[in-house]
Symmetry: C2
Subunit: 391 residues, 2 copies
């Protein structure tokens, strides 16, 4: 006998900054019976995951795999394997996740220089280049898709300038992988990491990582050991590689889930998936603008995957989110840091990026805002439908 | 269209050093729809996990939780939060996992002293005490249940001696939690970690950790930041605590699975579970001895959860394991390091510790050994049945 009962989660429509909705097929794959982490059948799963991950990353990088931790473990792996005591790292600092990168780099005893911008802004080619040329760092880090602000950073100029001074480039692709083009190879990103619970629409628990040949060369040439054994990419490479040398017991079922989520991306087709994300984003924006709200990020720098509409004057984000959760089972999150109380964070990622999600959310937003005394316009759903009809 | 098909794992009976078999109910719980990591319903899950983990740990420690990584992440958290540059740590080094602890401590720049013994042996009270009194370390680490050897280390004398010199004690409980008594509080262990895929019989992916009040006090008094942000227990404590401050996106479904696995332990009852593990271990040992094999570890120091029978002269562990996997779908692993080619590692943990598993494995072992030319005795199943009948 136990005082505890089998847990039944409440029904939720997840439209926050992650986790996103998970396709039922992915749950099925995840719940398949476990095999050992040295089972030949499991190495087949790993091989498929590596091959399928290369598609949304836009890369032919040999070193492409998923680490046994959430997206943050991917960030930490990028830092602890390429940044050590005294390494000079230049960080483009315009949101929470670049703050976190800086914190991690400082913990290694690195020399951190940063180019700071307000949350929601991004860097033009010229200022990016000037910063890197001036600082001549060994490593450059930026956030491709900033989950705390909804802004997209263009990678190309950063990578070109970094390579001119011999630096490696780390890119946080947590909120872009599988929802927006990353094109690692074409852009020249050396070290990319992501999570599984955003646009890949698998449950959280793994961190996809890809290293360019140059990054791999630097990794192998590194003389000191990384401070992390768990995230030591040299050791993990040996487990994924031909020798399959034991490192740790990998989360088997999470890999089943990731493999199936990636397979569904392959079935949908990458371009079709990007088009879907873009269309649902446009429809959502049209809807919130019809409600008289504005978007925090300038049109040309907006993520399709994470939207930050500005809350109407006098509307509490806590009250609004409570109402959405209670009346509709919809999860969206608020802003934090400098954006606390100012924006909503609405994720339209992976399986959550659908016409039905957008229409239901807009309808619920409209009703809830009016219930909270917001005297804005109506017609959010109609505005969104117009976009869909034109598409 | 995709070249990839839905993955169907081959049927396996997992009797290696982990992962163990997972109860179907745990798969069901794991595949429940995802909710957000800041959803009130999910904080209820975390609270249940903490409460239910205290039972097999044998503790009333407030700080009891599970980290978002496999057991090795638990080990790394223990090290990086309590060992820093110059910390003197004394390690009882008699197997692979204490080797790994040493590697991790050295990566922090710690001063590591060790007491080395051959793999499979353990430490008597007197020698343990003498080592600690002589070295006067700040941290002591030992492996309670050594997965590489099958040996159980008694904690009491180590903890008492450590506390006399003011040291904290780290214990690796990966292969004991949920299968053998740990009694953190009664033994005086300060920092314990484990994995979910051994005797808890959940899939791999989380690392249960418990800190004594003294360890928690030291953690909070620490002046420097841990080299790991991802495994920083101060930050993780804030997410699990009343403030629920965001740290990272936790692997939601893994927590569903762990909660259900722990609930099943609560339903079975801890003592009944220990009795079951002990009985199946005894029956297995009787069976392999009937086959003319010996056990690597002395009777009084054997784990019930991980058994290391010595391979008969001339029998290749690779050939034997291939046969077990191919003919019966049974996974057991071989030894490694100094035990490579010398022992099998047979896990009877959690759902894998059952009469039917033991009888099937013994029968398969007997047939396979004879097929490989081993001219030993027969009667393994009968010997095991005798133990069951006497129980």
């Amino acid at each position: 006998m136990s005082d505890y009962r089998f847990f039944q989660p409440p029904p939720r429509l997840l439209l926050g900054p992650g986790p996103s909705m998970v396709d039922p097929q992915v749950y099925l794959a995840m719940a398949a019976p476990i095999v050992g982490h040295t089972d030949p059948a499991f190495f087949g799963v790993l091989q498929d995951v590596a091959a399928l991950l290369r598609i949304p990353f836009g890369t032919s990088n040999d070193f492409t795999l998923a680490l046994s931790g959430t997206g943050t473990a991917g960030m930490e792996a990028a830092v602890v394997n390429f940044v050590e005591r005294g390494t000079k790292i230049a960080v483009f600092n315009n949101g929470y996740f670049s703050d976190r990168l800086i914190d991690m780099a400082e913990r290694q005893g690195a020399e951190v220089v940063k180019l700071v911008k307000p949350w929601g802004e991004v860097y033009g080619d010229e200022e990016a280049r000037a910063f890197i040329e001036r600082e001549k760092p060994e490593v450059v880090a930026f956030v491709h898709a900033e989950t705390s602000t909804g802004a997209l950073q263009s990678p190309k100029a950063i990578c070109a300038a970094a390579h001119e001074v011999g630096a490696l480039v780390i890119a946080d692709c947590v909120t872009s992988l599988g929802g927006m083009p990353i094109d690692l190879d074409a852009n020249g990103i050396d070290i990319a990491y992501s999570g599984t619970q955003k646009c890949l629409s698998a449950p959280p628990g793994l961190a996809p990582v890809s290293l360019s040949p140059l990054a791999l060369e630097r990794l192998r040439a590194r003389k000191t050991k990384s401070v992390s054994w768990y995230l030591d990419l040299k050791l993990i490479d040996e487990y994924w590689g031909a020798s399959h040398r034991y490192h740790h017991t990998t989360p088997i079922n999470m890999f089943y889930a990731l493999r199936e989520a990636l397979r569904l991306i392959d079935v949908e087709g990458l371009q079709a998936r990007f088009d879907r994300h873009k269309l649902n984003h446009r429809a959502f924006v049209a809807g919130v603008e019809a409600l008289g709200m504005t978007m925090h990020v300038a049109p040309e720098h907006r993520l399709w995957t994470l939207n930050t509409p500005v809350l109407p004057e006098g509307v509490s984000d806590v009250e609004l989110r409570k109402r959405l959760l209670h009346d509709y089972g919809i999860e969206v999150l608020g802003g934090f840091g400098p954006l606390a109380g100012k924006v909503l964070r609405v994720g339209l990622m992976g399986a959550s990026s659908s016409r039905n999600s957008v229409l239901l959310l807009l309808s619920a937003l409209e009703t809830s805002l009016h219930a909270l005394g917001h005297r804005g316009e109506r017609g959010a759903v109609e505005a969104a439908e117009t976009i869909y009809n034109e598409a």
